[in-house]
Amino acid sequence: MSELERSLLRRLRDRDERAFRELVEAHRDRVYNITFRMLGNRAEAEDVAQEVFIAVFKTIDSPNSGYREESKFSTWLYRVAVNHCKNRIKYLARRHDRDREEIDETTHTTGVNGSIGGPMPSSPHKALESAQMEKLMQEAIANLEDDQRIVVVLRDVEDLSIEEICEITGLPDGTVKSRLHRARLVLRKRLQRHVEDRNE
Protein backbone atom coordinates (compact mmCIF):
# COMPACT_ATOMS: atom_id res chain seq x y z
CA MET A 1 0.00 0.00 0.00
CA SER A 2 1.38 3.43 -0.89
CA GLU A 3 2.08 6.06 1.75
CA LEU A 4 -0.55 8.30 0.12
CA GLU A 5 -3.19 5.59 0.41
CA ARG A 6 -2.18 4.90 4.02
CA SER A 7 -2.55 8.56 4.88
CA LEU A 8 -5.94 8.73 3.15
CA LEU A 9 -7.14 5.73 5.14
CA ARG A 10 -5.93 7.30 8.37
CA ARG A 11 -7.90 10.43 7.58
CA LEU A 12 -10.86 8.32 6.61
CA ARG A 13 -10.86 6.62 9.99
CA ASP A 14 -11.18 10.10 11.47
CA ARG A 15 -14.20 10.50 9.20
CA ASP A 16 -12.65 13.19 7.09
CA GLU A 17 -15.09 13.88 4.27
CA ARG A 18 -12.37 15.08 1.88
CA ALA A 19 -10.46 11.82 2.28
CA PHE A 20 -13.68 9.94 1.58
CA ARG A 21 -14.25 11.90 -1.62
CA GLU A 22 -10.67 11.39 -2.78
CA LEU A 23 -10.94 7.63 -2.34
CA VAL A 24 -14.30 7.47 -4.10
CA GLU A 25 -12.90 9.49 -7.00
CA ALA A 26 -9.90 7.17 -7.25
CA HIS A 27 -11.88 3.90 -7.32
CA ARG A 28 -15.41 4.70 -8.48
CA ASP A 29 -15.00 3.86 -12.18
CA ARG A 30 -13.38 0.50 -11.55
CA VAL A 31 -15.95 -0.48 -8.92
CA TYR A 32 -18.75 0.68 -11.19
CA ASN A 33 -17.31 -1.25 -14.15
CA ILE A 34 -17.20 -4.44 -12.05
CA THR A 35 -20.75 -4.02 -10.79
CA PHE A 36 -22.00 -3.17 -14.28
CA ARG A 37 -20.30 -6.17 -15.92
CA MET A 38 -21.55 -8.40 -13.12
CA LEU A 39 -25.14 -7.17 -13.06
CA GLY A 40 -25.55 -6.00 -16.66
CA ASN A 41 -27.89 -3.23 -15.60
CA ARG A 42 -26.86 0.38 -15.20
CA ALA A 43 -29.27 1.39 -12.42
CA GLU A 44 -28.54 -1.73 -10.36
CA ALA A 45 -24.81 -1.27 -10.95
CA GLU A 46 -24.90 2.30 -9.69
CA ASP A 47 -26.94 1.38 -6.66
CA VAL A 48 -24.65 -1.51 -5.72
CA ALA A 49 -21.50 0.59 -6.33
CA GLN A 50 -22.88 3.20 -3.92
CA GLU A 51 -23.64 0.55 -1.33
CA VAL A 52 -20.10 -0.80 -1.72
CA PHE A 53 -18.55 2.56 -0.79
CA ILE A 54 -21.00 3.11 2.04
CA ALA A 55 -20.24 -0.35 3.46
CA VAL A 56 -16.49 0.17 3.10
CA PHE A 57 -16.45 3.50 4.89
CA LYS A 58 -18.83 2.39 7.60
CA THR A 59 -16.76 -0.66 8.46
CA ILE A 60 -13.19 0.43 7.76
CA ASP A 61 -12.31 0.80 11.44
CA SER A 62 -14.31 -2.20 12.55
CA PRO A 63 -12.25 -5.27 13.55
CA ASN A 64 -14.75 -7.47 11.66
CA SER A 65 -14.46 -5.59 8.37
CA GLY A 66 -12.03 -8.13 6.90
CA TYR A 67 -9.63 -5.37 5.94
CA ARG A 68 -5.97 -5.92 6.80
CA GLU A 69 -3.40 -3.13 6.72
CA GLU A 70 -0.86 -5.27 4.87
CA SER A 71 -3.18 -6.06 1.95
CA LYS A 72 -4.05 -3.70 -0.86
CA PHE A 73 -7.02 -1.47 -0.22
CA SER A 74 -8.27 -2.04 -3.77
CA THR A 75 -8.28 -5.83 -3.31
CA TRP A 76 -10.46 -5.47 -0.24
CA LEU A 77 -12.68 -2.96 -2.04
CA TYR A 78 -13.19 -5.36 -4.98
CA ARG A 79 -13.96 -8.19 -2.55
CA VAL A 80 -16.70 -6.06 -0.99
CA ALA A 81 -17.94 -5.21 -4.51
CA VAL A 82 -18.03 -8.87 -5.58
CA ASN A 83 -19.89 -9.88 -2.41
CA HIS A 84 -22.43 -7.10 -2.87
CA CYS A 85 -22.94 -8.16 -6.49
CA LYS A 86 -23.50 -11.79 -5.46
CA ASN A 87 -26.06 -10.69 -2.87
CA ARG A 88 -27.82 -8.46 -5.38
CA ILE A 89 -27.91 -11.25 -7.98
CA LYS A 90 -29.51 -13.57 -5.43
CA TYR A 91 -31.98 -10.88 -4.43
CA LEU A 92 -32.90 -10.14 -8.04
CA ALA A 93 -33.21 -13.82 -8.84
CA ARG A 94 -35.65 -14.15 -5.97
CA ARG A 95 -37.66 -11.26 -7.31
CA HIS A 96 -37.46 -12.63 -10.88
CA ASP A 97 -36.36 -9.22 -11.86
CA ARG A 98 -33.17 -9.75 -13.79
CA ASP A 99 -33.53 -7.17 -16.45
CA ARG A 100 -30.43 -7.02 -18.57
CA GLU A 101 -32.06 -5.47 -21.60
CA GLU A 102 -30.52 -2.12 -20.96
CA ILE A 103 -26.97 -3.29 -21.62
CA ASP A 104 -26.34 -1.64 -24.93
CA GLU A 105 -28.62 1.38 -24.82
CA THR A 106 -25.88 3.85 -23.98
CA THR A 107 -23.05 2.13 -25.80
CA HIS A 108 -22.77 4.99 -28.23
CA THR A 109 -22.86 7.74 -25.68
CA THR A 110 -19.66 9.30 -24.43
CA GLY A 111 -18.81 11.60 -21.57
CA VAL A 112 -22.23 11.61 -19.99
CA ASN A 113 -23.46 10.14 -16.75
CA GLY A 114 -22.82 6.44 -16.48
CA SER A 115 -21.38 6.35 -19.97
CA ILE A 116 -19.18 3.78 -21.60
CA GLY A 117 -15.78 5.37 -21.97
CA GLY A 118 -12.95 5.03 -24.46
CA PRO A 119 -12.42 6.10 -28.05
CA MET A 120 -15.03 5.14 -30.61
CA PRO A 121 -14.05 3.59 -33.96
CA SER A 122 -13.62 6.11 -36.75
CA SER A 123 -16.07 4.88 -39.41
CA PRO A 124 -19.81 4.40 -38.80
CA HIS A 125 -19.59 0.81 -40.08
CA LYS A 126 -16.81 -0.05 -37.66
CA ALA A 127 -18.62 1.71 -34.84
CA LEU A 128 -21.73 -0.34 -35.49
CA GLU A 129 -19.76 -3.57 -35.67
CA SER A 130 -17.92 -2.73 -32.46
CA ALA A 131 -21.17 -1.87 -30.69
CA GLN A 132 -22.73 -5.16 -31.85
CA MET A 133 -19.72 -7.10 -30.67
CA GLU A 134 -19.77 -5.28 -27.35
CA LYS A 135 -23.44 -6.11 -26.91
CA LEU A 136 -22.87 -9.72 -27.87
CA MET A 137 -19.97 -10.08 -25.47
CA GLN A 138 -21.85 -8.44 -22.60
CA GLU A 139 -24.79 -10.77 -23.23
CA ALA A 140 -22.46 -13.75 -23.29
CA ILE A 141 -20.90 -12.62 -19.99
CA ALA A 142 -24.32 -11.96 -18.47
CA ASN A 143 -25.46 -15.47 -19.37
CA LEU A 144 -22.52 -17.17 -17.67
CA GLU A 145 -23.10 -18.85 -14.34
CA ASP A 146 -22.54 -16.38 -11.49
CA ASP A 147 -19.33 -17.97 -10.19
CA GLN A 148 -17.86 -18.13 -13.71
CA ARG A 149 -18.88 -14.55 -14.44
CA ILE A 150 -17.04 -13.26 -11.36
CA VAL A 151 -13.69 -14.77 -12.38
CA VAL A 152 -13.96 -13.85 -16.06
CA VAL A 153 -14.87 -10.23 -15.27
CA LEU A 154 -12.00 -9.90 -12.81
CA ARG A 155 -9.45 -11.64 -15.04
CA ASP A 156 -10.32 -10.80 -18.63
CA VAL A 157 -12.19 -7.51 -18.26
CA GLU A 158 -10.44 -6.01 -15.24
CA ASP A 159 -7.11 -7.71 -15.97
CA LEU A 160 -6.41 -8.73 -12.37
CA SER A 161 -3.93 -11.52 -11.62
CA ILE A 162 -5.01 -15.03 -10.59
CA GLU A 163 -3.46 -14.33 -7.18
CA GLU A 164 -5.56 -11.19 -6.70
CA ILE A 165 -8.69 -13.03 -7.82
CA CYS A 166 -8.00 -15.75 -5.23
CA GLU A 167 -7.71 -13.08 -2.55
CA ILE A 168 -10.87 -11.29 -3.69
CA THR A 169 -13.05 -14.37 -4.04
CA GLY A 170 -11.49 -16.38 -1.22
CA LEU A 171 -11.24 -19.35 -3.61
CA PRO A 172 -8.23 -21.61 -4.04
CA ASP A 173 -6.01 -21.18 -7.07
CA GLY A 174 -7.23 -24.38 -8.77
CA THR A 175 -10.91 -23.43 -8.44
CA VAL A 176 -10.30 -19.98 -9.92
CA LYS A 177 -8.43 -21.48 -12.88
CA SER A 178 -11.01 -24.16 -13.58
CA ARG A 179 -13.88 -21.65 -13.42
CA LEU A 180 -11.94 -19.39 -15.72
CA HIS A 181 -11.38 -22.22 -18.21
CA ARG A 182 -15.08 -23.12 -18.12
CA ALA A 183 -16.13 -19.53 -18.59
CA ARG A 184 -13.77 -19.01 -21.52
CA LEU A 185 -14.95 -22.21 -23.09
CA VAL A 186 -18.58 -21.15 -22.84
CA LEU A 187 -17.78 -17.70 -24.21
CA ARG A 188 -15.80 -19.16 -27.09
CA LYS A 189 -18.64 -21.50 -28.05
CA ARG A 190 -21.25 -18.75 -27.87
CA LEU A 191 -19.20 -16.38 -29.97
CA GLN A 192 -18.34 -19.10 -32.48
CA ARG A 193 -22.02 -19.88 -32.85
CA HIS A 194 -22.69 -16.20 -33.48
CA VAL A 195 -19.97 -16.01 -36.16
CA GLU A 196 -21.32 -19.15 -37.84
CA ASP A 197 -24.88 -17.77 -37.80
CA ARG A 198 -23.65 -14.53 -39.33
CA ASN A 199 -21.73 -16.32 -42.08
CA GLU A 200 -24.68 -18.49 -43.13
Partner: protein
Protein backbone atom coordinates in the same frame (compact mmCIF):
# COMPACT_ATOMS: atom_id res chain seq x y z
CA UNK B 1 -20.67 -31.80 -30.48
CA UNK B 2 -20.28 -35.18 -28.72
CA UNK B 3 -19.34 -35.53 -25.05
CA UNK B 4 -15.90 -36.92 -25.95
CA UNK B 5 -15.22 -33.97 -28.23
CA UNK B 6 -16.36 -31.67 -25.44
CA UNK B 7 -13.83 -33.23 -23.06
CA UNK B 8 -11.01 -32.80 -25.55
CA UNK B 9 -12.08 -29.22 -26.15
CA UNK B 10 -12.13 -28.60 -22.37
CA UNK B 11 -8.62 -29.91 -22.02
CA UNK B 12 -7.32 -27.85 -24.90
CA UNK B 13 -9.03 -24.71 -23.59
CA UNK B 14 -7.63 -25.31 -20.10
CA UNK B 15 -4.09 -25.71 -21.41
CA UNK B 16 -4.30 -22.79 -23.80
CA UNK B 17 -5.79 -20.66 -20.99
CA UNK B 18 -2.86 -21.46 -18.72
CA UNK B 19 -0.46 -20.85 -21.59
CA UNK B 20 -1.96 -17.42 -22.27
CA UNK B 21 -1.98 -16.58 -18.55
CA UNK B 22 1.73 -17.39 -18.39
CA UNK B 23 1.15 -20.14 -15.83
CA UNK B 24 3.01 -22.92 -17.66
CA UNK B 25 6.70 -23.47 -17.20
CA UNK B 26 9.52 -25.35 -18.92
CA UNK B 27 8.70 -28.51 -20.84
CA UNK B 28 4.94 -28.13 -20.37
CA UNK B 29 4.99 -24.67 -21.91
CA UNK B 30 7.14 -25.87 -24.82
CA UNK B 31 4.78 -28.80 -25.36
CA UNK B 32 1.72 -26.52 -25.56
CA UNK B 33 3.58 -24.06 -27.82
CA UNK B 34 4.47 -26.96 -30.10
CA UNK B 35 0.87 -28.20 -30.26
CA UNK B 36 -0.41 -24.70 -30.99
CA UNK B 37 2.01 -24.49 -33.88
CA UNK B 38 1.35 -27.92 -35.37
CA UNK B 39 -2.12 -29.11 -34.36
CA UNK B 40 -4.96 -27.35 -36.24
CA UNK B 41 -7.44 -27.79 -33.31
CA UNK B 42 -5.00 -26.26 -30.82
CA UNK B 43 -4.07 -23.55 -33.30
CA UNK B 44 -7.73 -22.62 -33.79
CA UNK B 45 -8.47 -22.63 -30.04
CA UNK B 46 -5.45 -20.44 -29.41
CA UNK B 47 -6.46 -17.98 -32.14
CA UNK B 48 -10.07 -17.84 -30.85
CA UNK B 49 -9.00 -17.29 -27.28
CA UNK B 50 -6.48 -14.61 -28.16
CA UNK B 51 -9.21 -12.86 -30.13
CA UNK B 52 -11.76 -13.17 -27.27
CA UNK B 53 -9.36 -11.95 -24.65
CA UNK B 54 -8.23 -9.08 -26.80
CA UNK B 55 -11.80 -8.04 -27.24
CA UNK B 56 -12.74 -8.48 -23.60
CA UNK B 57 -9.81 -6.52 -22.22
CA UNK B 58 -10.52 -3.85 -24.82
CA UNK B 59 -14.20 -3.66 -23.95
CA UNK B 60 -15.08 -0.10 -23.24
CA UNK B 61 -15.02 0.69 -19.56
CA UNK B 62 -18.28 1.67 -17.99
CA UNK B 63 -17.82 4.97 -16.17
CA UNK B 64 -19.61 5.89 -12.99
CA UNK B 65 -22.03 8.81 -13.36
CA UNK B 66 -20.43 12.22 -12.97
CA UNK B 67 -22.46 12.88 -9.82
CA UNK B 68 -21.51 9.55 -8.25
CA UNK B 69 -19.28 10.97 -5.48
CA UNK B 70 -21.89 13.57 -4.57
CA UNK B 71 -24.58 10.91 -4.55
CA UNK B 72 -22.69 8.58 -2.19
CA UNK B 73 -21.75 11.44 0.14
CA UNK B 74 -25.35 12.65 0.09
CA UNK B 75 -26.68 9.19 0.90
CA UNK B 76 -24.30 8.84 3.85
CA UNK B 77 -25.20 12.27 5.17
CA UNK B 78 -28.89 11.51 4.77
CA UNK B 79 -28.71 8.16 6.51
CA UNK B 80 -26.56 9.43 9.37
CA UNK B 81 -28.44 12.73 9.67
CA UNK B 82 -25.16 14.52 8.97
CA UNK B 83 -23.34 12.90 11.90
CA UNK B 84 -21.05 10.54 10.00
CA UNK B 85 -18.58 13.07 8.69
CA UNK B 86 -16.81 15.78 10.60
CA UNK B 87 -13.77 15.13 12.72
CA UNK B 88 -14.61 12.89 15.56
CA UNK B 89 -14.34 14.33 19.02
CA UNK B 90 -11.33 13.61 21.18
CA UNK B 91 -13.43 11.26 23.27
CA UNK B 92 -14.42 9.32 20.11
CA UNK B 93 -10.86 8.82 18.97
CA UNK B 94 -9.23 7.95 22.32
CA UNK B 95 -10.61 4.99 24.23
CA UNK B 96 -12.37 5.79 27.51
CA UNK B 97 -10.10 3.44 29.52
CA UNK B 98 -6.99 5.31 28.35
CA UNK B 99 -8.58 8.61 29.37
CA UNK B 100 -9.50 7.16 32.77
CA UNK B 101 -5.96 5.89 33.43
CA UNK B 102 -4.42 9.25 32.46
CA UNK B 103 -6.91 11.07 34.69
CA UNK B 104 -6.13 8.83 37.68
CA UNK B 105 -2.36 9.30 37.22
CA UNK B 106 -2.80 13.07 36.92
CA UNK B 107 -4.94 13.18 40.09
CA UNK B 108 -2.39 11.08 41.99
CA UNK B 109 0.42 13.41 40.86
CA UNK B 110 -1.49 16.50 41.98
CA UNK B 111 -2.30 14.82 45.30
CA UNK B 112 1.35 13.92 45.87
CA UNK B 113 2.50 17.47 45.08
CA UNK B 114 -0.01 18.90 47.51
CA UNK B 115 1.03 16.41 50.16
CA UNK B 116 4.76 16.98 49.66
CA UNK B 117 4.59 20.74 49.53
CA UNK B 118 5.65 22.67 52.63
CA UNK B 119 2.52 24.69 52.51
CA UNK B 120 0.27 22.05 50.98
CA UNK B 121 -3.08 21.75 52.62
CA UNK B 122 -2.80 17.94 52.70
CA UNK B 123 0.40 17.98 54.71
CA UNK B 124 -0.15 16.57 58.21
CA UNK B 125 1.67 18.80 60.63
CA UNK B 126 3.31 16.60 63.28
CA UNK B 127 4.87 19.54 65.22
CA UNK B 128 2.71 20.62 68.17
CA UNK B 129 1.42 24.07 67.80
CA UNK B 130 3.68 26.55 69.61
CA UNK B 131 2.23 27.25 73.03
CA UNK B 132 1.28 30.79 73.69
CA UNK B 133 2.94 32.34 76.74
CA UNK B 134 0.38 32.83 79.48
CA UNK B 135 -0.92 36.34 79.61
CA UNK B 136 0.92 38.49 82.04
CA UNK B 137 -1.12 39.35 85.10
CA UNK B 138 -1.98 42.96 85.36
CA UNK B 139 0.52 44.91 87.40
CA UNK B 140 -1.09 46.42 90.45
CA UNK B 141 0.26 49.72 91.67
Amino acid sequence: MSEAEDDIDDEVVAKVSDYLDGLLKGAERDDVANKIENDPAWKQTHADMVENRKFMSGMQKARAPATFTEDVTGTINKRSAGRFFGRRTFGDRVPFTALLVVAIIALAAVGYLMWASQTGSLKVDKQPAPTQPPPKPPVSM
